[in-house]
Amino acid sequence: MASMRDIKRRKAGVQSTQQITKAMKLVSTVKLQRAKVRALQSKTYFSCMYDTVVSLLAKAGNLDVPYTQKQESPRKAIILLTSNRGLAGGYNSNVVKLITQGDFKKEELDIYAIGRKGREVMERRGYTIKADFSELADEFEYADAIKVCNQILKAYDDKEVGEIYLAYTNFKNTVSQTPTLLKLLPVLPEEHEIENDGLLMNFEPQDEEALKMIIPKYMTSLLHGALIEALASENGARMQAMDNATNNAQEMIDSLTLLYNRARQGSITQELTEIIAGAEAIS
């Protein structure tokens, strides 16, 4: 049996780890609240944007705009949203799995990484990292989303890539986050459920021009929304992971306390037996 001192030291170690995980849980709870509010505020913009794009597409079936047509280039760009820090349970590896276990060919992919953890994994596995915007994973504004989108759109306009995907974690609620793969471009009309409500919308400038201007904005709003959701998911995942860690630490502390008491009792019994034996030997 381990000595009393060893057990005591071990218990102190687990206890200080527990304090850290507890603090981390509290921090991510606060951050999660903030991210949730932000997600709620940005939802209106996104749903209006989505309605407009759908009504545009309803008319745009035969338009000659590269954003709504299949492209020849086999290369695919993927924007990968992960976190900069670990200790968030399966948060990062679940998003990465979308790509490594999806039906993509490694050689055809260009990864645009937002988040250090995702970039490191993909680098190790030999994927092409085209650009890294990791500093945006924790703090970003709409202007940042515009910047990233413009760079990727340029690759699309230059026909370097034929498809653009977005891999992120969708925030359902505090306990459930689902990794999601979303196709950003091309926006194919047949892939969207188009309701024609009979309202005839006019576009100024003409449909084609309007589509060319609105689709990039649509893409930016998707990316911005995904960044917000990913941030909420990251903190939700970390909160859960840290909650579990705190509980596990408590369990360990309990069983160590039991061991310690047993060891203490054992040593007292032993000392008593020794004293009694000594006394008997003298008499």
Binding site: Q41, Y45, T52, A145, I146, N202, E204, P205, A210, M213
Partner: protein, 134 residues
């Protein structure tokens, strides 16, 4: 003001709902030129060019700098999806002034084409911000 002439105006940015209310007229600048909208407009979607946004409420006029985005116009409802829009009190006059000077300098130097296009947009935005302050 006759209530039947009012319509619903919503201005939404990615970060928040910027404005929501009943108005009688809204004016702003589009890629096709400046427009003013009353109730009963034909359904139209327009792309926004930097300019001053003027909201005519029954009681008062409100100004803002509307820099980028697009607007969906329906007969009894107008929704502006603005990427950048600012109330006058949110605009930093000095900064806009400096941006204007910088852009003008760059235009005077005449660098390569890309720079000229960018400086033009920057100049437009700066002028529009300054005008909204007046």
């Amino acid at each position: 003001m006759d209530d039947s002439k009012l319509f619903e105006l919503r201005i939404i940015t990615p970060e928040r709902v910027f404005y929501e209310g009943q108005v009688s007229m809204v004016e702003f600048n589009t890629t096709e030129g400046e427009i003013g909208i009353y109730k009963g407009h034909i359904p139209t979607t327009v792309i926004i060019d930097p300019g001053v946004l003027t909201i005519t409420e029954p009681e008062q006029l409100k100004n803002a700098a509307l820099l980028s985005g697009f607007a969906q116009i329906l007969p009894d409802e107008v929704t502006i999806l603005a990427e950048i829009v600012e109330w006058p009190f949110e605009i930093d006059e000095e900064r806009a002034e400096r941006a204007k000077e910088r852009a003008e300098e760059r235009l005077a130097q005449k660098g390569d084409n890309l720079d000229v296009a960018r400086a033009n947009i920057a100049l437009k935005k700066a002028i529009c911000r300054l005008e909204a302050l007046k």
